[in-house]
Symmetry: C2
Subunit: 505 residues, 2 copies
């Protein structure tokens, strides 16, 4: 969200490793085009939204097949734009296919419609009520810099919204416009080939186009993954419109990790090594990166020593974009002026960054907490020494909201309950004896949490229940059978599961 | 929300019929008191929220019993402040008891916790995930003028939030401060007697206290029922905070009704009479009042004649507050300068208002739609003549969002499907061959809809699912059994229903 693209300019695809020249991809989208793209989406949505879920599931499975068929092209394009590497991006391509398939399963199962029937009692004047969920309309999806696929045009927000029966207009992230165009092209061709209007998936480029999209009267909800600054600005646009719309933003998250004294006693070396691996995975560019780890005084020296050793083997890396690299370096420099910073391998060229982990000892000024309360994208994390578990619980409890909070504890651990209790108000997912990177895409997964980790803590952007963001209830009172939608008709030709209440209330 | 109470002033209880002098009830709540009240709520909430649902259900049932025991006092106090009458207020007292009981049943059932378990696969490195819903914290509840009980301190927002395990701080409506104090007193005594901290239910008075409550860092969500002006202002405060919080506002709703030509042919007289009864029920002070009815040219004369007859029998009435009365009269005068207005009985005193129904014929200027697009609180509604069903569908489709949309149609009716289709994007509840007043409190009921009828169309303020507004997901990854909350433990001592996924995804 940091580029300042003039609407009259071309959007350029940049080689994240600097090995090749910029390539123009598309013109930044202007207001006239946004009007047309949102009108096309709104026009295509009703037929798609009213179709039997199995029809949309069929298209979602075709998306999955198309992603698999085009893996090489997708990975090559995304790797050039993000430098995330072939292995990671091949995995991410498998993930977008799995996500599309998951939502095909979710909508075919039918429970997502939440059909409820309250029988009426004519003699008592009590009406019959039948309720289900309908799509909200057109959803704007903002792609993230760090997941050019799984949290971008072909990612979870898009396929969950399409699964719900919504149309989608995606805003391409400026860090990977060509990947965005390729993904949209593949998906629009699948839609066309299956006989659907490809206007169901629109794509816009440019920061001002993104703002205009959120403000547009035809946009009914927004899914966003990105920075706190950019996300907050768009949240405020969505809330301030004449007709406010739901804004589901995943912004910054520090993801605290606590090592109890007992856990440090049992597994200090193992935890230190896994911590470095998690904090530097994909060059520290995961929203679930452990940004701070609290280590007891009893083991701080041993822990730091192991981190130093592990870090020496951590390669330097190209970050996703130049602004991300510049912010990373400024942050590390700022922290480094106040606390020692351990560093990884030196980069092979000047554009790479060295992994860095700061160590805050008890003797340091506690006002330094500002450095570990703010997310720093890239391979940076902070080790904080604590003296007593009580002190540490207080430090953790004062932190801003996070997607995750992690506890390393022993099998029998007197300190564990107090930490688990302190974590619950702080985060959306509590991880035990592991690390928060690597988010499982499943039914029970929750990827959201108190602000700023998400702008609406009731919803998730990963997993089966993320479809709820794009659905709203509609109730029918005493409707003639012929005027009910299929899932509410007595005949239930879609064969969806329904909950029938006793009718007593 | 129109009073301009100085924080230093007393809050006065006013006799809505003007038969007795104002009575001072409480001082308007200042910032210091708000800090204390929200701190008390936040301090009491964790134990309440972590209690077994049956313990909270026990308290909810005691609320119901206490409301029944104190019906006479409650009704007398509320009738003096609102002039809604003993019959209506006795019914409303029964409703708050029924609502408290409904939520006791909902939480004891346990499905509201939405427990899901995704088994892990250690050999494949797939973690186990267990998810359920936890209370969001402290909820601010804004009472409505027109429901001094059911949508105020002892109403659905409060009992659903307490059922969820949240603490509540209620903002008393200035139209019924004594009723609010009485209800809070009864509920706080029930809490105390049952061994709970009465700080779980706070009460504040005054417009500036309401704004400060929404802005307060200890407030985690807001439930509001009231005007579009006041609700929008508070929505913007909730969205604009450093940490934005969910704001569930039910604002204005016009609730269009359409009579098809076939229905008019079958039941013109019956529909006209029921329409007048619904539009003037409780002096037209329901959020589901039919604000506009579309009648075909073929029957407009007969319909208007029947409305005129029915209206002659409609008594004048005292409205809830002086500002509501003044706005009603201004609105009727403004419409009356452009279209004929049919009127009910003359009031027995100058403070009463006459029911009024405007008639907009085809020959009238269609720009008059502004008069029926805006809610007018009180016994006022508009009859709009239409020539063809196609024209009427277009008029309806251009209306702002409503809580309800109603269709009167024949058993076999060629025009009904087009109207039903036009209604779905417009409203949260579609009513057939009836009228929208009289909202059933049940499992499938949805009371919400596109803006401005509610600020978040995903949620309802009536019925079992309204509890979802006050709950957020929390996931546990690979947690030791001892650190899981009871509903997620293998032993499941709370005996809550759980969904277990196949673990394949």
């Amino acid at each position: 969200m940091t580029s300042t693209i003039n609407p009259d300019q071309m959007v350029m695809s940049t080689d994240a490793r600097g090995n090749s020249a910029d390539v123009p991809v598309a013109g930044a989208t202007n207001q006239h085009d946004i009007d047309q793209i949102t009108a096309a989406a709104a026009s295509a949505q009703p037929e798609w939204g009213q179709a039997r879920p199995s029809q949309r599931a069929d298209v979602l499975r075709k998306f999955a097949a198309a992603f698999a068929d085009h893996t090489d092209e997708i990975v090559a394009t995304a790797d050039r734009e993000t430098a995330l590497g072939v292995a990671r991006l091949t995995g991410e391509t498998q993930r977008i296919a799995a996500q599309a398939t998951l939502f095909a399963d979710v909508i075919e199962d039918g429970r997502y419609l939440e059909v409820m029937v309250d029988p009426g009692d004519e003699s008592a004047g009590v009406p019959e009520i039948r309720r289900y969920l309908i799509p909200v309309g057109t959803v704007a999806v903002f792609g993230a810099s760090n997941f050019p696929l799984a949290f971008s045009v072909p990612g979870g927000d898009t396929v969950s919204a399409l699964a719900a029966g919504c149309a989608v207009v995606a805003k391409a992230h400026p860090g990977h416009p060509a990947t965005s165009e390729l993904a949209a092209h593949i998906m629009r061709r699948v839609l066309s080939d299956a006989g659907w209007d490809p206007g169901l998936l629109g794509l816009v480029h440019g920061e001002s186009a993104g703002t205009a999209l959120v403000a547009h009267d035809r946009t009914d909800a927004v899914g966003f993954t990105g920075s706190e600054l950019g996300g907050r600005a768009l949240h405020d646009v969505a809330s301030g419109r004449p007709r406010p719309i739901p804004f589901y933003g995943e912004l910054g998250s520090v993801n605290p990790v606590v090592v109890t004294p007992s856990a440090a006693q049992d597994r200090c070396i193992e935890i230190a090594r896994e911590y470095v691996a998690s904090a530097t995975l994909s060059a520290g560019q995961f929203c679930t990166k452990p940004g701070v780890i609290f280590v007891p005084s009893s083991h701080i020296d041993e822990f730091t020593e192991q981190v130093t050793l592990a870090l020496a083997d951590c390669p330097s890396a190209h970050l996703l974009t130049t602004p991300i690299r510049d912010r990373f370096r400024s942050h590390v420099d700022a922290v480094g002026s106040e606390a020692p910073v351990l560093q990884g391998a030196t980069g092979t060229d000047g554009d790479q960054v060295q992994p860095a982990i700061a160590v805050v000892r008890l003797s340091e000024n506690r006002e330094m907490s500002a450095h570990w309360y703010a997310e720093c994208f890239g391979p940076f994390s902070v080790i904080v020494e604590y003296d007593t578990p009580e002190t540490c619980v207080r430090m953790v409890a004062s932190m801003p909201g996070s997607l995750t909070a992690t506890l390393h504890c022993a099998d029998v651990d007197p300190d564990a309950p107090a930490f688990a209790a302190a974590f619950a108000p702080l985060a959306g997912r509590l991880v035990f004896n592991g690390f928060p990177t690597g988010v499982r895409v499943s039914h029970a997964m929750h990827h959201g949490g108190p602000f700023p980790s998400s702008t609406n803590p009731l919803h998730t952007s990963v997993g089966a229940t993320s479809i709820r963001r794009w659905l709203r209830p509609l109730a029918y009172q005493n409707a003639p059978e012929a005027l009910l939608p299929p899932p509410l008709q007595d005949s239930n030709t879609w064969d969806v599961p329904r909950t029938k209440s006793s009718g007593s209330s």
